[in-house]
């Protein structure tokens, strides 16, 4: 239990990288990149967790009455989730352009077209 969350984050990252490297479709590759991104969120939040603590949001609990988890890593992950989605959209826009120019979204065919 002491390292399980970190190992899960490592697993998600490696699996995503494997998918990226072996992908035969650029849209699938963008999906794999989204999986890789989620590994970072799992790692960040795991680092910030504290046993038996609750969220540092004091709208319904009295400050100081319960231990709280680390808000800094949560803030980092939160902004990146939304910004990461727009970056995914940018990559998908690139895929649409590639499909228009070359008529294929298979990375292997693309490199053959160029070379």
């Amino acid at each position: 239990m002491h390292v399980l969350p970190y190992l899960v984050a490592v697993w998600i990252f490696l699996v995503g990288c494997y998918g990226l490297a072996t992908s035969r479709n650029l849209i699938h590759a963008v999906g794999c990149l989204a999986v890789c991104q989620s590994a970072t969120y799992v790692l960040l939040l795991a680092v910030g967790y504290r046993d038996g603590a609750t969220a540092p949001v004091f709208s319904d609990v009295k400050p100081g009455s319960r231990p709280v988890v680390d808000p800094v890593v949560q803030a980092l992950a939160l902004t990146d989730v939304v910004v990461g989605a727009t970056v995914t959209a940018l990559l998908l826009a690139l895929v649409v352009q590639v499909a228009k120019r070359h008529g294929t979204v298979d990375p292997d065919e693309l490199s053959e077209l160029r070379g």
Partner: protein, 150 residues
């Protein structure tokens, strides 16, 4: 020992585990149904967690899931309509069973909470969740006819 969190863990392990298996394999009609049921199961689990951690503000997460989960299923129903019309998914038994689970969870949580705003919020979440999932199921079973381009 916190029974609420235990119940949430059971719903997650049994229910969401099963729908994950459903979305991972089989024909497309089974996968879209499993995706819809994931929402319908995760939302009661989130409500149970909010009660288990004794944090009413966590209900907001369940509320947003109850709103946007069925919208996500509608996205699939709309854009995969061509492939689904030939082989429409029909899983009303599972849909109503999961809707029943959601109803039971919301009813129990309303019963233990002191009547007030929090109860009303729980009820709104429950109505949105169950209505949304039934409508999403209906949309999957041929809600979009004759969309060729648009």
């Amino acid at each position: 020992m916190n029974g609420w969190i235990l119940a949430a863990a059971l719903v997650l392990a049994g229910g969401v585990g099963a729908t994950l298996w459903g979305v991972a394999s089989g024909p497309l009609r089974r996968r879209v149904i499993a995706q819809n049921l994931t929402t319908a199961l995760a939302c009661p689990a989130l409500l149970l967690l909010a009660q288990g951690y004794d944090r009413p503000s966590y209900v907001d997460v369940a509320l947003v899931l109850a709103l946007l989960g069925p919208v996500g299923t509608l996205v699939f129903a709309r854009l995969l309509a061509d492939e689904l019309t030939g082989d429409p998914p029909r899983a009303w038994g599972a849909t109503w069973a999961v809707a029943g689970l959601g109803t039971v969870v919301v009813a129990i949580l309303c019963a233990v909470a002191a009547p007030g705003r929090a109860t009303a919020k729980l009820l709104v979440t429950g109505v949105l969740l169950i209505g949304g999932n039934v409508v999403a199921s209906r949309a999957l079973a041929g809600g979009f006819g004759g969309v060729r381009r648009g």
